[in-house]
Amino acid sequence: MMKNDNRPTLPPQAKRSLGIKATNFISNLVIYVLLTIITVIWLIPFVCIVLQSFRVESTWMVGYVLPQKWGLDNYMALFETKFPVWYMNTFLIALFTAAGQTIITLCMSYTLSRFRFKLRKPLMRFMLILGMFPGMLGMIILYNVLKDLGMTEASSVPGLILVNIASSGMGYYVSKGFFDTIPKSLDEAARIDGATRLQVLTKIILPLAKPIVIYTILTAFMAPWGDFVFARYISNNNIDGMNVAVGLYSWLNLDQINSHYTMFCAGGVLVALPVTILFMCLQKYYVEGVTGGAVKG
């Protein structure tokens, strides 16, 4: 009987008359009902999108959910479009971004958490202020610079990877919060035993930081699948340089939606499936990251 009712469930009079066991039962029942309703609401869109991806009789938007004719036609049709190219683009971007971003973020957060150097505070303050500018503003110039380097439109994949990795130093907060929780006495003990700073990092901190490393890889890998704004600007409507988000978005344009709506659903399912499974498997680490990072700000 610890904190078994944090929510108001029944007025105090009812409590007295029902006894603690009955109150508990009723409040639990109410919670179960609420949770079921919430879960259903949460899952409806996902169920709908899966169902509609199997609809064969028409390709446009309809006002009903259950297909009248089932089939895999929409999935087959995907392979006749540029969808596989987009998929590959996104996968490559996600892979390289995950690798690069993890290294950069860990360097940044570890340093800011562990070292006390003269420019530390000004640097952090500067990055905080920098983060207050809407990043979208930089798009125009980045587009022009990448265009000069030949990394836009059809070959926008390397450009997107470069920009994703280069700007990842700004998002150090969550992992810094995690490093802050590893006791400093560990470092000091190792230092006294004669380890260099590099050895402290590789031999002591990194093994302990496994959750945050996985968290960083996971978020860095997932972000490009939903990256829309920048990818759209860089690819500049070139069909070969799009990622899945931009490509599928173009299918919901007014002139395409009638012929591509169910294919959008099928494509969405194919994109969401691996990402979701990956996320569900590594959920534990994600929770650790989210909690730690939020508390530290």
Binding site: M2, K3, N4, N6, P8, N28, I31, Y32, L34, L35, I38, T39, W42, L43, P45, C48, M61, G63, I104, C107, Y110, T111, F115, L130, M132, F133, P134, G135, M136, L137, G138, I141, L142, N144, S167, G169, M170, D180, R197, L198, G226, F228, V229, R232, A245, L252, Y261, F264, C265, G268, V275, T276, M280, Q283, V287, V290, T291, V295, K296, G297
Partner: protein, 510 residues
């Protein structure tokens, strides 16, 4: 005004406490502003003092220096090489050579044109032999601005390196004078993985931030003071040039032809703030509620509930949001279902009516945001010491009292920083708005405003429209909006930072 002591304050009735706190806050504003001005003043004075000391130090280094030091004033790194620190010396020298080469290769050229941003636009020249008009392109304002800014960065960097070079000479001289030995190149290298390990680790991320974040931002802030748009793109049609505050004038003119801009800006800003407020707090409290329900003792299948809800975190937002947006379209599933059931006789205008659209984005944002909150809150709830609840129960506190007196204060304290970042993050929440409504329905009362702003547009989505779909694309106005977003976010953060204790003392949390 009468100041209460803590004891007197606690004896006041609740509403009087509130009034007292408010009055205190208002009274503190003038002194707060005064303190702020004083702080800035001291900072400026301190800055010039620091420059003064630096100059004096450089002067004395030169006067007291030997010939090696003095040569280093011109040839960077000479002193280090002459004293046997070859690695360091070569690095300094390399910096200087790179700088000189860059300046000659074009840096000086770009710098020189920075004031005008180019004088010779594209020219059409008639070619009598071929009987055609050929266009010749000359200056490129965009590149002048870009490389001009880059050159300034380079110069500042070189000045700093030069200063370090001088300091090095001074220190080496002192060390040698006291009869000790200088560090060898090997020692220097070793310090990069040891004493100066932080420099090694930070170099790569900082270069990335400098090139891909800082430089674009500086460039874009400067663009706000030019007339850069797609009709003046600086190369192929017209050059652009400095126009001072004209773009700000367009945006914030309360009279005259451009009054529509200021009206639109006001409307969008107020909607942005309303949206951020509701998006943050609905998520926060509902998410907390769901987390507490799932974590309640005696509730089974905790993992199942949690996994179902986090689907919205796992599935990429563009899929879920775009799909949901279509679900609520006029010919979408929801309207179809309601019509079939005969619950409504005509479609509900989810996205076509202003009020419907605004409420819908807030509700759907809850759908997106609650799972995230739930995951976060779950961890924090576990950390609340259980004995607090025990003793509260013994004192006869009911569930509601326990919540308001224990859970909520604890949560607010711990997640204070998160609330702030979440508020500012929501102000810039591009995805939810753009993918759900695309900013629509369009504003009808402000014709002629670039970017075709809609009723649910946030400042950032308006900015995005300005640089992508607008005809002509108004980069200068977009940049003004960006600066205003910064001002608003910075202002809010500044106030909150000064009120909240848990952010101020970053070290206390470690």
């Amino acid at each position: 005004m009468k100041k209460y002591t803590d004891l007197e304050y606690l004896q006041l009735p609740k509403w009087k406490r509130l009034v007292y706190t408010l009055v205190c806050f208002v009274c503190a504003i003038p002194s707060g502003i005064w303190n702020f001005v004083k702080k800035i003043f001291t900072a400026v004075v301190g800055f010039f003092k620091a420059i003064g000391t630096e100059c004096a130090d450089i002067y004395f280094t030169f006067v007291n220096g030997d010939w090696k030091t003095r040569v280093s004033f011109v040839v960077m790194g000479f002193g280090s090489i002459a004293r046997g620190q070859i690695l360091r010396g070569l690095l300094f020298l390399a910096m200087e050579i790179i700088f000189v080469v860059y300046m000659f290769a074009g840096g000086a050229h770009w710098m020189g044109q920075l004031m005008t941003l180019g004088t010779r636009g594209p020219e059409k020249v008639y070619d009598p032999i071929m009987d055609v008009y050929n266009t010749y392109y000359h200056d490129n304002s965009f590149k002048i601005l870009l490389y001009g800014v880059l050159t300034i960065f380079f110069i500042v960097g070189l000045i700093f390196t030069w200063r370090i070079n001088i300091k090095q000479n001074k220190i080496s001289q002192q060390i040698l004078a006291s009869g000790k030995k200088l560090k060898s190149g090997k020692d220097d290298l070793r310090s990069l993985v040891d004493d100066n390990f932080h420099a090694t680790l930070l170099s790569l991320p900082l270069v990335g931030i400098l090139v891909f974040t800082v430089m674009p931002m500086v460039f874009m802030i400067l663009v706000a003071f030019t007339n850069y748009d797609s009709l003046h793109n600086g190369y192929t049609n017209n050059l652009f040039s400095w126009v001072g505050l004209e773009s700000f004038n367009t945006m914030f003119n309360w009279t005259g032809d451009n009054v529509n801009y200021s009206v639109t800006f006001g409307e969008i800003l107020s909607w942005t703030l309303i949206w951020a407020f509701f998006a943050t707090f609905t998520n926060y409290f509902l998410g907390m509620g769901v987390a507490m329900m799932i974590n309640k003792k005696g509730i089974k299948w905790k993992k199942f509930w949690r996994s179902c809800l986090v689907m919205t975190v796992a599935v990429p937002q563009f899929i879920s949001l775009m799909y949901v947006s279509k679900m609520f379209a006029n010919n979408g599933i929801v309207n179809g279902f309601l019509l079939d059931m005969k619950w409504i006789s005509e479609v509900l205008p989810f996205w076509t009516d202003v009020n419907w659209a605004r409420v819908m984005v807030i509700i759907l944002n809850v759908w997106v945001g609650i799972p995230y909150l739930m995951l976060m809150v779950t961890g924090i709830l576990m950390n609340i010491p259980q004995d607090l609840y025990e003793s509260a129960k013994i004192d006869g506190a009911n569930a509601w009292q326990q919540y308001t007196k224990i859970t909520l204060p604890y949560m607010l304290f711990v997640t204070g920083p998160y609330l702030l970042t979440s508020f500012t993050g929501n102000m810039n929440n591009f995805n939810v708005i753009f993918l759900l409504t695309g900013g629509g329905p369009n504003m009808t009362d402000v014709p002629g405003v670039l970017g075709a702003p809609g009723e649910t547009d946030l400042l950032v989505t308006w900015l995005f429209k300005m640089i992508t779909t607008s005809e002509p694309a108004a980069y200068n106005l977009a940049s003004v909006i960006g600066i205003m977003v910064f001002v608003v976010v910075a202002g809010i953060s500044l106030v909150v930072y000064n009120v909240m204790p848990s952010i101020k003392n970053e070290e206390d949390f470690q």
